[in-house]
């Protein structure tokens, strides 16, 4: 006897993600899920971004995801922001259940903007909704301009793509036009932000994008 089921296999995760999204919306918190390979510069980007957001009075909260250590959370200690560190132990990505747990330690009424710094991984984080408004991925110029074609899901799921370490362009064979074309083939709606967390070039455009998103969220 045949039984029609039609149940989404990731429904458990997606249901929690929807609860998180609802909770964040109720507090008008704009949430960004930041993903990249290990070492592309996520934590450094957060440092540079926080430096620029603090003077504007934006209240930021951060959830840090790593397999081990609280090094990333420690790096952000100098900023006046609540940081919750998740150590996944073995999991290579953050899922909705983990974020839900972290939110129990964060006062959502005291923040406007939430950065979720995902585990360094160009594959798995893209698969899991965690209640964010946007997935943003980061590629550094040392990683190669063909990566969008090799990791389509990550680039498809993201709203924005940061190309970091442009100060190193002259030392690599990274072709910005090629990378842009490849990224747009996979996701024509991607907004690109070439920048350098070392020199500061390009950071203003990225911060503008974040502030626009925050404004839009709070206008609802």
């Amino acid at each position: 006897m045949k039984i029609t089921v039609l149940d989404n296999i990731l429904q458990a995760n997606d249901a929690i993600a929807a609860e998180i999204a609802a909770k964040l919306a109720a507090h008008r918190v704009f949430a960004i899920n930041l993903m990249s390979s290990p070492g592309a510069g996520k934590t450094t980007l957060l440092e540079r971004t926080l430096e620029r957001l603090e003077p504007k009075g934006v209240r930021v909260g951060v959830i840090e995801g790593d397999i081990e250590t609280s090094r990333d959370a420690e790096r952000l200690e100098g900023f006046n922001v609540p940081v919750v560190q998740i150590n996944t132990g073995t999991a290579c990505h953050l899922d909705a259940n983990m974020i839900n747990g972290a939110l129990a330690n964060l006062d959502c009424s005291a923040i406007d903007l939430l950065f979720i710094e995902n585990v360094g991984n160009l594959v798995c984080p893209a698969e899991f909704k965690v209640g964010e408004d946007h997935k943003v991925m980061m590629l550094s110029v040392a990683e190669g301009d063909e990566k969008p074609l090799k990791y389509p899901l990550m680039f498809r799921e993201s709203s924005a793509m940061i190309v970091n370490k442009i100060d190193l362009l002259q030392h690599t064979n990274f072709d910005m036009e090629e990378a842009t074309a490849n990224a747009c083939k996979i996701n024509p709606k991607l907004t690109l932000f070439p920048l350098s967390c070392t020199t500061g070039e390009g950071l203003e455009a990225w911060v503008e994008w974040v502030l626009k998103g925050l404004e839009a969220k709070r206008a609802h």
Partner: protein
């Protein structure tokens, strides 16, 4: 990726559905996985063989239907199969597309005894 947790989630859904229908055993499980999800069927089948042991689906065959990526062009209305995940209309080169299929990940149906 994550075929193991997918196999475990499939098992939960199947067990729930089978028990609700008063089944004694599950013969076949049919799932749909959109090509954009990057599921590797062989790996899923291999892992599901472990997950189904000592359950109501112990003797079940898992069938994985990979749903191709189909997109519709918002400019010229052409509907086409996407090649190599490249989101561009083969007719008019527009990038303004809607994804019609390719993101599914569900248990479609089961056959019980």
């Amino acid at each position: 990726m994550h075929e193991l947790s997918i196999a475990q989630n499939i098992m939960k859904i199947v067990a729930s559905s089978a028990h609700k229908s008063g089944a004694t055993s599950v013969k076949t499980i049919r799932i749909r996985a959109g090509a954009l999800r990057g599921i590797v069927p062989e790996q899923l089948l291999f892992l599901f063989d472990f997950v189904k042991k000592e359950t109501i689906a112990e003797g079940a065959t898992l069938e994985v239907e990979i749903v191709p990526v189909k997109a519709g062009c918002k400019d010229c209305q052409r509907v086409f199969l996407v090649q190599n995940f490249e989101m561009i209309c083969p007719e008019c080169q527009s990038k303004d597309l809607s994804v019609i299929s390719g993101m599914e990940l569900d248990v479609k149906e089961i056959e019980i005894v």
